[in-house]
């Protein structure tokens, strides 16, 4: 139903989420990412959500929890490419997600990590 890919770019993990994610998929992603970050000593996680047509409160909380967990593992999480209509809806839903780092494009997101990240 959904396709989630994780690509290692230097010491940053690029995660692309596309299509429909069930709650179970979202929780599985959170566990996978935490394990990956610890195993590879990643410095950062970029989650590309440009393929997501909606982000509801469950998924928003999961993204927030992923960021919090990776922070404890010394890696920063940046949410990339949120669609404008998704942003508008999240705010109206009451979710402004303070503390969550965002960037509009993958390139901008990668720039947050400076050296050590090779472009594809």
């Amino acid at each position: 139903m959904s396709a989630t890919s994780v690509i290692e770019m230097g010491d940053v993990l690029l995660v692309t989420v596309q299509g429909e994610l069930t709650d179970h998929d979202a929780v599985a992603l959170q566990q996978d990412l935490a394990a990956n970050v610890a195993e590879r000593s990643s410095r950062g996680v970029l989650i590309d959500v440009s393929g997501m047509e909606i982000v509801d409160s469950f998924l928003a909380r999961t993204l927030h929890d992923i960021a919090a967990a990776t922070e404890l593992l010394a890696a920063k999480t940046v949410i990339v490419g949120m669609r404008p209509e998704v942003a508008i809806t999240l705010v109206e839903l009451g979710l402004t997600l303070p503390g969550l780092a965002t960037a509009l494009t993958v390139a901008d997101g990668l720039a947050e990590f400076g050296d050590g990240v090779r472009p594809l």
Partner: protein
Amino acid sequence: MTSVVTLHELRIREEIDIVHVRQTVREVAVSVGFSLVEQTKLVTAASELARNTLKHGRGGTAQVELEKHDGSTVVRLVFRDEGPGIPDTELALTDGYSSAGGLGLGLSGARRLADEFDLHTTPGEGTTVSVGFRAGRAAT
């Protein structure tokens, strides 16, 4: 002139049914000409309420209705369950209150996203939540 047509009646029994509700509601929103923002709000509210039906109501149904009033179109979603009901609706509609360990924005958030919101609940018998979304431009 007002006409009401029930387009879909969906069962909510397991997690994947939340995805089915989202997809069905999206198709209806597109077919009646909702803008992208309107579609996104409608589908997000549907997702929140379908999850409530599953997690709090122990499953139930989602009905998708199309209402046409003079020149305007309303998509109405009715979620019904025969679960334990909501003992304190005011508390359940408070931002940040959660009985299931969530963010507590499901019900209150869906109410904010919708143009019309109606909640009926009887402890021990179940809950019905109805939300209506109007298209921004009059349908011709």
